[in-house]
Amino acid sequence: MFEFSFFAQLDWEQIREVLTSLNIGFVKSLEIFFLTLLGSLPLGLVIAFGSMSNIGIIRWFNKLLVWVIRGTPLMLQLIIIYYGPGIILGNNWWGSGATGRFIAAMIAFILNYACYFSEIYRGGIEGIPKGQYEAGEVLGMTKSQIFFKVVLLQVIKRIIPPIGNEVITLVKDTSLVRVIAVYELMWDGQNYIKSEGIIWPMLFTGVYYLLFSGLLTIFLGWLEKKMDYFKV
């Protein structure tokens, strides 16, 4: 039987070894993913407020930052942030170990995603009708009460879909850190091409990404549903 012989040919020992290795890489990818969100979601809000500031210099600084970060490849930013200090300033802040490389990668990722999020936040905040603020004002609310009690939840509802888009993109962008030798899921998979001449571990990495982004899609859909009780 074909099927029987196909499975008979499988080297279960090798598969187990590959999965063990991919799991280690996947944990690293997850670390990058969650730490990036943890840092960039709040930092994005700061940049969003900065780019809406009434103070010209703050506004322009933030707009410039967003332009540069969104206008250049994340891979370039990783390389500059990791190698830049050592080569330009003659002082390698990151040291020579894996920890330094990981920190450099996290800074690049957090800054990059914060800039994308800031534009989503800004769109969400500016999209709230002026009447909502005015209704709060004539009811004697303070500016911060209006923001936190009236505006914020409406903004969150509006931005979940575009934020979700970025979050899904981030899942796959984590693979970029390999450019400064932070070892994650895809790095582990590709190793088997070099060391054993087999490509199926690469296909396995694809399954990891698919499953994880599938879970996220379900979660994001649930979150959107949670917000269905009101309309903006």
């Binding site: 004539v138 009811l139 303070t142 009460q145 009690k149 009236v150 009780y229 309309k231």
Partner: protein, 261 residues
Amino acid sequence: MAILEVKNLKKSFGELEVLKGIDFSLEKGDVMAVIGSSGNGKTTLLRCINFLETPNEGEIIVNGETLFDASQKENASESDIRKKRLHFGLVFQNFNLFPQYTVLGNVMLAKELLEKERPDYKQNKKQIKAEIEAEARMLLDEVGLSDKLDFYPHQLSGGQQQRVAIARALALKPDILCFDEPTSALDPELTGEVLKVIKSLADSNMTMIVVTHEMSFARDVANKIIFMDEGKILEEGSPEDIFENPKHERVREFIGGIGAI
């Protein structure tokens, strides 16, 4: 003593002078209708009175207390302006309810936030909240929405939403309640239910300023009418004066043109 005096109120947006010196005063229980064609400063007048715009000149005096005086260039703090605002309520043309709160929540929110500043709030939290809720339920009953307390704004008709907005404004017990074309965003069918609520407020001696295009409503409910034209009050008087013996050709044209009588 007049409950509200507005003196020589002027407001410009850049080069455009929208209000060119508005004077009027209201006694407690007065219902003043502000009429005139669009673009003549009616809404700006209401927005100035409610501190949504800062007038360039003039004074606003409530119960003898000067709330605003353009010649006094002090920088009022946010909390000062809030206190002054609470003398007024404003009902908007397009309701501006808070979509994520229920009907009851919309009416309670501002009062709850205000009461949180009371020194005894923490100790008597439960009791204070219960009072606010009881008050809100009563107001919603008055506007005929006691069966919609847990509904969200998008589940209501425009007329129901506007009635919630009226209850929401009343929750803060304003001295003067202002309406900015409260029925202009409504189907003719729904206009009546909102006007009925405003009329019942008038009957309960609420002082109100109503910017409106509903001429029959202005005539029947208001005891005072001002006709605004090009940023000025062209004519003012009782409904009889304005509707039956208008002094100005412009007013006669406007009322005749609308064909309200």
